[in-house]
Symmetry: C2
Subunit: 335 residues, 2 copies
Amino acid sequence: MARLSLNEIEQLSQDILQRHGFSPAQVQAVADTVVAGQRDECHSHGLYRLLGCIDTLKAGKVVPNAKPVPHDRAPAIVLVDAGGGFAPLAFRTGLPLLIDKASQQGLAALMINHCVHFSALWVEIEQLTEAGLVALACNPSHAWVAPAGGRLPVFGTNPIAFGWPRPGKAPYIFDFATSAIARGDIELHRRDGVPIPTGWGVDGEGRASNDAATVLDKGAMLPFGGHKGSALATMIELIAGPMIDDFTSAESLEWDAGCQALPYHGELILAFDPRRFLGDRTESSLQRAEMLFDSIAEQGARLPSQRRYQARMRSQAEGVEIPDALHEDLKALLR
Amino acid sequence: MARLSLNEIEQLSQDILQRHGFSPAQVQAVADTVVAGQRDECHSHGLYRLLGCIDTLKAGKVVPNAKPVPHDRAPAIVLVDAGGGFAPLAFRTGLPLLIDKASQQGLAALMINHCVHFSALWVEIEQLTEAGLVALACNPSHAWVAPAGGRLPVFGTNPIAFGWPRPGKAPYIFDFATSAIARGDIELHRRDGVPIPTGWGVDGEGRASNDAATVLDKGAMLPFGGHKGSALATMIELIAGPMIDDFTSAESLEWDAGCQALPYHGELILAFDPRRFLGDRTESSLQRAEMLFDSIAEQGARLPSQRRYQARMRSQAEGVEIPDALHEDLKALLR
């Protein structure tokens, strides 16, 4: 394993992106997301993700110097056209406008269009909770997941993330895929020749399958939680697809045309200003929310964001370890 | 079984509510919800619910002549104080204001405070999709459900419902509890002395239990979908509890003080106007959404609202059947 400090991760990410022609603003926004992912030991969104990022560039599926353009769509809606670039700079462009609209109207939506998937949603959500807002975000991906009771892929892994600001504490944030499991986990089982658990996917006839290759190549992944997870995945397709004039997961996969690039889609981010809902009862209401968190944590159940915060403290103190092979692959991108 | 027409159901509901002192506006709003529930064969929200409704009144836990008061909270937020009455009249009071704000701002929230649980959320969602809006609603209930990995009840059965308008067709609507199963289903297993499936609940030590009485009296129900369902239930507690200055499920159960009345809580309803998101691309985007529904339905997977619409057509043509015992219990309420 190679050990790197957070500064070294940032520098390496910036160097790789710059070397491949990304504009300074794109470099900074993407590198910041990579550092956040690696720092919090969310490895799939850390340095590893840069490999897919450069593959996507080489496939001609991302615009390296895209300049996101914001539009004031409605009093409570800001639109940012990402122009075919990665999502983080588009989010950064829309963030102050979203915060402003949420505090003025009470709640507001940021619709990001024409962006290439990159960001972990929790990285974006955290920037809204830092502003004292409650936030919800979701996006489609590539159509890999069948509806409950079906056999053909319709949904993406369709993540949904939510954040709640906690006075004096790190925010409550969850961020999960609406598929039963990440596609990467099924790929690892295929590589290792290990059967997958029942419930992760079906074969081409819709029968439960424990064979990773069958699920990935001939069948489909399954949503989490049966018909309820399937309904949530449908909602995400709709509100972060047609409702914001952007691709569904099926349309993203069709646009990919076999390149295996990162998904191309829109993203919907909602922000709620608790001060506008609560007025002079904001502080006491946020305190009541703490009782909810306490009643979960005190019985030994996990609050979803805690693992990331522990990893963050470790990484800030000690740096992070990555496999030597990944380090070599990354350095090769600098040549 | 007794067969009743929809008109007879409406008349019976109105007579019972009036007989017990509900004001004319409350009678109409509650009766309309009962008729919708019974008509769509959502029996737990049909005539059966009137028994709990009158029990709640007798326990002194609902105000029969409450007059909901609307407040213009922020440009995108309308608040309706239900004044301790059942939810439907409060929703009816806020509906035109919510529609107006959503079409003006792009999206808007209706926060209902101090209402006694009554409504099925899909009945409310349908009134928003009829206005061409996309809608999302949720509420806490009584704390009966433990977080994933825990053993003590924290969450309610916390329903979440979503609706999408389909041009020329009945809307896409889902409405599900974030518990693995309805509490009523576990009660039926207890009554019949039948073990419950693994995954519905835990005993007081957090171990999986197949005994209905243990889960209901000493342990806790479980959320659907493991830690993901648990996270959603947490979100609903927060955004339809402290964010709108109303009770969490734990606070609702505490307020109940053993009366076993219907939950007392707030409700959050979000409405999005697709025309403000999409402008002149509204029609083409709604057509693209139809491709998503087709790709689900054509492979034989279920769209969540279809069963209700089939029941509705049947009920409108033939009326509905209810058990004689229920019919007698209802008629007894008229004496």
